[in-house]
Amino acid sequence: MGEKREIRILGIETSCDETAAAVTKNGREVLSNVISSQIAVHTEYGGVVPEIASRKHLEKIDEVIELSLSEAGLDFSSLDAVAVTSGPGLVGALLVGVSEAKALAYAIGKPLVAVHHIAGHIAANYIENPDLRPPFVCLVVSGGHTELVLVRDYGSFEILGQSRDDAAGEAFDKVARAVGLGYPGGPKVDRAAEGGDPEAIRFPRGEVSGNPYDFSFSGLKSAVLNYINRAKMTGEEISVPDLCASFQASVSEALVSRAIRLCRERKCESLAIAGGVASNSALRKRVEAECLENGIRFYRPSPVLCTDNAAMIACAGYYEYLSGRRDGASLNACPNLPLGALCPKRGREEGQGR
């Protein structure tokens, strides 16, 4: 029936400390990917301050949206839908994007599609890998999440393993703080580990009983802190590169061993990684090597698509749009939205600062 229509989706993402907007064409082609990063602001506090994040989102969101359209060479009328992260994340931060996106969709008379933040991270893999299609296993690792997900189909997920305590990214932040590297921990530990010996210190691999795919990082974090304290007390000098490299080796092994095991047991031929920690160079190398060894195809997004961005939201939003999902003017932000779930109706506002 005629030539294939191009679907252009504006994605909006404000779940944490990046104000982002992007436009994709037919899901996988990124026409623009605009980010206003608040890292410089939150660094002054040693971590993300929710109230400040919310205020900055509101200040920057229009500029970000307009730049995403002008970089894509489009205007509002050429969009087919607006996709927005509705959760999980910081409630006050999410509400800025959700409120703006809802009003925008209404104003231009186009459908609104809510996107789960983690579904967005997983979808980031589609952008540079035209051959990647479900089913595949995805290891999601970020500041707030550590999950092993079986992606059955677009928008259809089964979480088979997750962290029982800290997210992997949290462990990075805490270790970075303990050795004086500061925030954000992920990239700083990664850089500090360059030239370090990953076998210098043997940290625990976070074994847990029960579900073989679950993770635990609080024990590892404590082991690193204990090691630092013991060295301080005995006056022993700590090699920060060795410590960071050894810590990364422990995190990577815990993550990769479970991901590979899941692929083998489920006879899944493809493994993808996603989330901010997926830009960690030690983890990327490790997954790549083990995938090669086990005959599993390995997919990963570029670093710019690993950290929070709106291109991934516009990409995931495209598949939600195709599946017929439409959200209305009463869409709410859901700070604890489980993957694959709809936001429960009727909730009280949280985080009502005054």
Binding site: V41, L58, E66, L67, G92, S302, V304, N332, R346, R348
Partner: protein
């Protein structure tokens, strides 16, 4: 001239349409639902029932604080989303001035008070529509001390009346006047009226700013300690850029902004 007024700074969500000084329509909901669930549906219904489309609007006026941080942001982000595509001018209107407008014909002093928690109220004082005390967050006792010498009837309104009604009555006795229930809380129509009056000050969506009065707690604490980032992290501060949040496009082969 057609103005849409939006008010979401308190417990109720409201919207009103004003055409050349005449109120066309006003909706308000205070039913325990969050503003993010009620505000936009309410605006849609208001426009539809009034036979008005967004493109007919000359101005969107928004209650811009002080008030609930989250509520203010839902109101502002909604207004910005509505205004952005068509370039409708946006105007921030003081929430306290909006309350004052509810009782604009009152001949004496008007004191809007909004519960600011931490035993404080957001307040300002007005006489004949002119501000006589600035917007600030203070304790009710401190406000009462400041207005002790003000002669005549003193009208109070806003949600701060609920916790302090008895104290006000004790201190002011016969001088105290409380607004009637219809005028006691924030109203979108008052925001629209003030918006229309100050139309020339309207801004584009990206220049619109809220007026929180209070800084975020983390910022206040840091300032109290006199700490800067390099004190916290033992790092030397890099060269200040003009806008640290400057949005940039990151094409997909750019390798990431960490680099």
């Amino acid at each position: 001239m057609l103005t849409l007024g939006i008010e979401a700074s308190g417990r109720s969500a409201g919207a009103a349409l004003l055409r050349d000084g005449r109120l066309l329509s006003e909706y308000s909901l205070n039913v325990g639902l969050t503003h993010s669930e009620t505000l936009l549906p309410l605006i849609e219904a208001l426009l539809k029932a009034s036979g008005v489309s967004l493109s007919d609007l000359d101005l969107i006026a928004v209650s811009a604080g002080p008030g609930s941080f989250t509520g203010l942001r839902i109101g502002a982000a909604t207004a910005k989303g509505l205004a952005l595509p068509g370039g409708i001018p946006l105007l921030p209107v003081s929430t306290l001035e909006g309350l004052m407008q509810n009782v604009s014909e009152f001949p004496g002093y008007v004191h809007p008070i909004l519960d600011a928690r931490r035993s404080q109220v957001y307040t300002a004082s007005y006489l004949h529509g002119e501000k006589v005390l600035p917007e600030e967050a203070v304790s009710i006792e401190s406000l009462l001390k400041k207005i002790r010498s003000f002669p005549g009837k003193q009208l109070f309104l806003g949600d701060g009346v609920f916790p302090y009604r008895e104290l006000l009555s004790e201190c002011l006795g016969e001088k105290l006047v409380l607004a009637s229930p219809a005028n006691l809380l924030q109203r979108a129509s008052s925001i629209a009226i003030l918006g229309e009056r100050n139309f020339s000050l309207a801004k584009s969506a990206e220049k619109f700013r809220l007026h929180y009065v209070r800084k975020p707690q983390a910022e206040r604490e840091r300032e109290a300690k006199g700490l800067r980032d390099y004190d916290l992290l033992g790092e030397k501060r890099g060269g200040e850029t003009k806008d640290r949040l400057l949005p940039r496009n990151y094409p997909i082969d750019s390798g990431g902004y960490e680099n």
